[in-house]
Amino acid sequence: MLAFTIRRVFQSFVVLLVVGLVAFSMFRFVGDPIENMLGQERTGADIERLRTQLGLDQPFPVQYLRFLEGAVQGNFGVSYRQGRPVAEIIGERLPATLELAGVSAVLAIFFGLVLGVFTAIRRDGWAANTIMTLSLVGVSLPTFLIGILLIYVFAVELNVLPSFGRGEVIDLGWWRTGFLTESGLKALILPSITLGLYQMTLIMRLVRSEMLEVLRQDYIRFARARGLKEKSVLFRHALKNTLVPVITVTGLQLGAIIAFAIITETVFQWPGVGLLFINAIQFVDIPVMAAYLMLISVLFVAINLVVDLLYFVIDPRLRGDRVTAKG
């Protein structure tokens, strides 16, 4: 297990280095950083000074290393558009995205599991069939249309929920949360449903197909032959085995939620890092784009690592610390 963990950490490290190279190349080669920073009024001396200051006169590998060094310390330079350190801007906006993504993930996993199990157990029932048909439509619906539909129904027609923003937030010093006010919680409802719905559909369909597969296994037959209650067969024996493959995909989906938050945040004008990223693309604000890329990669890689380690918790066959008895 230790060897496996070390190998996975190493692989994650390589992925981050590659992404770092992409981010750095963007920074270095897209447009001219000097031009972007100094604007119109500049002298030759200014340019030279900045060039040395930024280390642009150094060889490429050295520049890359210095970029990585800065990135590790959270230093991604200054936003071309806002003129403030990128790390500061992202730090302000990250809580909004994480709160939105977190609530969506919980919704997606909870309903995905429940509906997936339900449709697997009642696989010929009308309710299960209806859910499956609806989920097909759900997969084809672009996220932003779901958001607009929800806004139309709940904000325009019924006028019960806000259509944009986070509502009132409370500043905890290092984290501004929307969880503690009524308007903050209300503002969270539509965006989190929008963001979670697609992932929920995917998780549901996956749980269903895995569960049906598990229910065909011999040990389920054997559990029935031992006269165990159907509830115990389904939830104690079948569900746990279903979870093993489900965890990987779900883990990847969680990463995807943070990425798809870009769309939801734009629809609902949610002041998170996704909206920041879209604005950065519109204005070609390279430092913000590069920093966002690094941030997302770190999150993805971290999630993947956690998922891999979760396997060990749930599947005893992977834990190599016991001796197999011969007999």
């Binding site: 963007m26 672009p142 607009i148 259509s163 693309i281």
Partner: protein, 304 residues
Amino acid sequence: MTALAQAWRSDFMWSFRHSPVAVVSFFMVLVLVSGAVFAPLVAPHNPFDPASLNLMNGFSQPMQPNAFTGDVFWLGTDDQGRDVFSTILYGMRISLFVGFCAVLFAMVLGVTLGLIAGYSGGMVSTVIMRIADVQLTFPAILVAMLIFGIAKGFTPVHLRDQMAIWVLILAIGLSDWVQFARVVRGATMVEKRKEYVQAAHLNGRKAVGIMIRHILPNVVGPVLVIATISLALAIIAEATLSFLGVGAPPTQPSLGTLIRIGQGFLFSGEWWILFFPAVTLLALALSVNLLGDWLRDVLNPRLR
């Protein structure tokens, strides 16, 4: 060979005729695509010809005569008096153009890289497939956004709106080549081990040409299926990017851009400016998707 081809074709046609979903979605796609292709002939107005626009016609409701001019527009007009039906036809033209070109680009790139990776093996294969793996770690839409952003950075400012469509094609295409490469690489590796390739080697002939001739027919089925499903995904990706404001510009609006514009009128009650483009996008994406699903079942290549 012709007999075989005929048998395959008739089998194919048989399952097509016996699948109502396939028939309905095929005709849906056919209608939508012809509407887009023949937009200049079909559309009652040219929404991009300032001469034909009348600001007095702004915000006409669907099917009702305009209060000032008395003109009737089937699906209403937007704030500038542009006929929604016409803008949808022209918008679909752009959506489909971007979708088709992006998939074509992804297909050519993916098939080529897949052939190279499968045939050469070793370092080249490892590098190509590693890039594919890293790219697959991230959702395609994110990759497309990033590529769009970078490509935009390279485009001179005054050309950005003009180039946006091509940048969009590049971004979506680059985000979508991996599936093609994987399938073709697998097929190539299987083919490489076959005797005729070994024999060609022994005869001192170049096996590459022969292999391509043998491999390509084998991968036509899976590649076609991936391409169809990719087309649905590309259409949605294009719409999403344009909706987010990082795609087709307002001067060349695609369906996504139209929805972005329409969202602004949601609260003021002019629902039709948003509603009809959204329904069109849905119909397009859904019918292409269903057609792809059906193709996959019929051609039954072992796809994930």
